[in-house]
């Protein structure tokens, strides 16, 4: 076994990534951003953060039931988006 296999490369990358994303999210507090800009930063970093956690730390995609796991995640994402945008449609955009 050589050193390369022993070194937890993915975990370290993940860790660094998480730190960067957290720092980016924190800037919203320190910089004087508009509400929209702030929320956008928070949402984008939150989703990337979730993906990093799932793939690098929770090992989605490393086992043979990869297919089932990703189907599940995509299905979940679709339902979440439908719910959010459908709600916006009913409660805000389409509401007279």
């Amino acid at each position: 076994m050589n050193l390369k296999e022993l070194f937890p490369r993915n975990q370290v990358i993940g860790f660094v990534f998480s730190l960067i994303l957290t720092a980016a999210a924190l800037t919203v507090y320190f910089l004087d951003l508009s509400f929209q800009a702030g929320m956008t930063v928070l949402l984008v970093t939150a989703f990337i953060q979730a993906a990093v956690q799932l793939v690098l730390f929770m090992h989605a995609g490393e086992t043979e039931d990869k297919g089932a796991i990703y189907t599940n995640i995509y299905y979940g994402v679709i339902i979440a988006l439908v719910t959010i945008f459908g709600t916006l449609l009913c409660m805000t955009w389409g509401y007279i």
Partner: protein, 648 residues
């Protein structure tokens, strides 16, 4: 004294005091009976601590039947009150409480456990597994459901029942308009039961994906198992919405947040919106397993394989997705514009297409079949025309422009009863009768069973058809009385007669159980219906380990092939079998949850903190527990097998 006053019923009546006495006496009788017959140990060892999916299934079914009678009593009271104009049987407040508890009990505490019960009993057997993937979690699911149901059911004698409808719309359900603790019961009891359901969802998806017998690919699974898989997928995606929604509602009621208030930035209609984001998928959670039961029953008694297996699966997958795209059809009149309403109208009508595909597949299965009319088959055949009435009126309601006319009238009430009763209740009764011999080793009497089926089907029509007419005539739902000049009297009288007929039908079922326990022959075979799926390949009643050898699957109907074509399913010698250990933890933890819920309902913070710690301690103990299960030795298997085979 002040402390105790809050537990008093805010709006008492002699009937409620009588119920209190009756409940007290029943509890004493049960406790005394258990002590007298020395059954405490048996109850604890065999039922309260069991992790066996079959026993958990049976407990779900018993709870469901109890709740069916509780909800049925509510229904009879409502129909009696409306039977004649200006009736004084119930006052407005009682009527409100009764229609609220009727809805909640029937959907959450009757239909759901009925489905869970059949799934628990049947799915592991149909896939040739020894139990579910997480047996102890399964026990926890059941006990959480049970404690949620009990908490909800004491509401009418302790503190008062919820009265804002089973949909519990805010702001009506907020503290301003619902001052009593009733709506707290709604939030907390459903929350506890809902947690159990969510766990079941995860448990069964894992079981079905991971624990199928060798050779059983997904496309070789029996249709009921497929429906269970899809249903549980919907559960896992829909129930979190309910969890969050109830948590928000609880916070509005108890911590004065403003999610659903009309001022301070609250959005009152957001409750209705999120409720139906969960609520519409929920109606498909109810109906898909029912479709699964019909698929099994129809192919068994048409004596042929199910027509269109692939399209059945595909239509369920499509339904599962579409069921998340239609929720706004429940509030077309809320104030969205034409664009939003049209979008949801179209998705709503689209869902009738895969449903129609299923109906045609059943008809085509029947077409070339050699039909045998047994009780389960009778329910399935009666289901088709009755459900069609419900479905067609559903499409009518789905047209948003027309819905302004139908919304919140008795027409709507007639629609959903005409889908839920044939769609869910008939299926559950068919399933119960069909799998009864597998559960208990004897059959229910066919003659009484069939007369019950006919009584229930005819009474359903008598009870609910008149509502279509009175609804179109303008009778609003949830109205506790009406004047004579409206002309609704006759329709409601007919409905009352139908409701009484339904009561007779259910009484016949109870009588059937009693009669069959006493007189039904016990020397039946393990496969009394000449059925096609795997659960019939083991003994009845099923031994603890389900199958002595793991079955080898190589077609959709391996068991049928083994009967007709001499295919050998069970190969090799017995080997010792690994089984999970019983545990008292799920029951104890759920009891703590009950106390937790009760404290929450009455805003008693110190008990709430103590019970919260109790729950966390249970979870921590479980994390550190080492429990490797136990083995059943080959000798024990041989002994059981000989005994069960001899009994035949």
């Amino acid at each position: 004294m002040e402390f105790f006053e809050r537990f008093a019923v805010p709006h008492p009546s002699p009937a409620i005091y009588a119920s209190m006495v009756a409940i007290g006496l029943t509890v004493i009788a049960i406790l005394a009976g258990l002590t007298y017959f020395k059954k405490w140990g048996y109850l604890w060892r065999e039922w309260l601590t069991t992790v066996d999916h079959k026993r958990i299934g049976i407990m779900y079914l018993i709870s469901a039947l109890l709740m069916l009678f509780r909800g049925g009593a509510d229904a009879i009271m409502m129909r009696a009150q409306l039977a004649v104009p200006e009736n004084q049987l119930l006052d407005a407040q009682h009527y409100n409480e009764i229609f609220t508890t009727h809805g909640v009990v029937m959907i959450i505490f009757m239909a759901m456990p009925f489905i869970m019960g059949l799934m628990n009993f049947v799915v592991p057997l149909q896939i040739g597994a020894r139990d579910v993937a997480f047996p102890r979690l399964n026990a926890l699911s059941f006990w959480l459901f049970f404690m949620g149901a009990m908490l909800f059911n004491i509401s009418f004698v302790v503190g008062g029942s919820p009265d804002a409808g089973w949909t519990s719309y805010f702001p009506l359900a907020g503290t301003e308009f619902s001052e009593s603790v009733g709506s707290n019961y709604f939030m907390i009891a459903i929350q506890i039961a809902g947690l159990g359901t969510l766990m079941t969802g995860i448990n069964f998806i894992t079981t079905i994906l991971k624990m199928r017998a060798p050779g059983m690919t997904l496309m070789k699974m029996p249709m009921f198992t497929w429906s269970a898989l899809i249903t549980n997928a919907i559960i896992v995606f829909a129930f979190p919405v309910l969890t969050v929604l109830l948590a928000m509602g609880t916070m509005d009621r108890l911590f004065a947040t403003n999610f659903f208030t009309t001022d301070n930035g609250g959005m009152d209609m957001l409750w209705a919106n999120l409720f139906w984001v969960w609520g519409h998928p929920e109606v498909y959670i109810l109906v898909l397993p029912a479709f699964g039961v019909y698929s099994e029953v129809i192919s068994t008694f048409a004596r042929r394989n199910l027509y269109g297996y692939k399209s059945m699966v595909a239509s369920m997958v499509i339904i599962s997705l579409l069921s998340f795209l239609v929720w706004a059809h429940h509030f077309f009149t809320m104030g969205q514009g034409a664009l939003a309403n049209s979008i949801f109208s179209i998705t709503t009508m689209a869902i009738a297409v895969p449903t129609g595909v299923k109906i045609f597949n059943w008809l085509l299965t029947l077409w070339k079949g050699k039909i045998v009319i047994t009780t389960p088959m009778l329910y399935s055949i009666l289901f088709i025309p009755l459900f069609t009435i419900g479905g067609v009126t559903g499409v009518m309601l789905g047209m948003s422009a027309a819905d302004y006319q139908y919304h919140n009238t008795m027409f709507l009430v007639a629609h959903f009863h005409m889908v839920i009763i044939p769609g869910v209740v008939f299926a559950m009764l068919a399933g119960l009768t069909y799998w009864w011999p597998k559960m208990f080793g004897f059959m229910l009497n066919e003659k009484i069973g069939k007369s019950a089926a006919w009584t229930i089907a005819i009474s359903t029509l008598v009870a609910f058809m008149p509502m279509f007419f009175s609804g179109l005539d303008g009778q609003a739902r949830r109205m506790y009385t009406y004047s004579e000049s409206t002309g609704f009297g006759i329709w409601n009288m007919i409905s009352f007669i139908g409701a009484a007929g339904l009561a007779i039908g259910f009484a016949l079922i109870v009588y059937n159980v009693y009669y069959s326990v006493r007189y039904s022959p016990r020397n039946i075979s393990a496969d009394p219906w000449d059925a096609r799926t795997l659960e019939w390949a083991t003994h009845s009643p099923v031994p603890e380990y389900n199958f002595a050898n793991v079955p080898q699957i190589d077609s959709i109907e391996t068991f049928w092939d083994s009967k007709k074509k001499g295919h050998i399913m069970f190969k090799g010698d017995y080997e010792k079998i690994h089984m999970p250990n019983n545990s008292g933890m799920p029951f104890i933890m759920s009891c703590i949850f009950f106390a937790w819920g009760f404290s929450f309902v009455f805003a008693m913070w110190i008990p709430l903190i103590i019970t919260t710690i109790g729950i966390l301690v249970c979870m921590a103990l479980r994390s550190f527990e080492k429990d490797h299960g136990h083995y059943i030795s080959v000798e024990e298997i041989e002994e059981t097998e000989t005994k069960l085979r001899g009994a035949k």
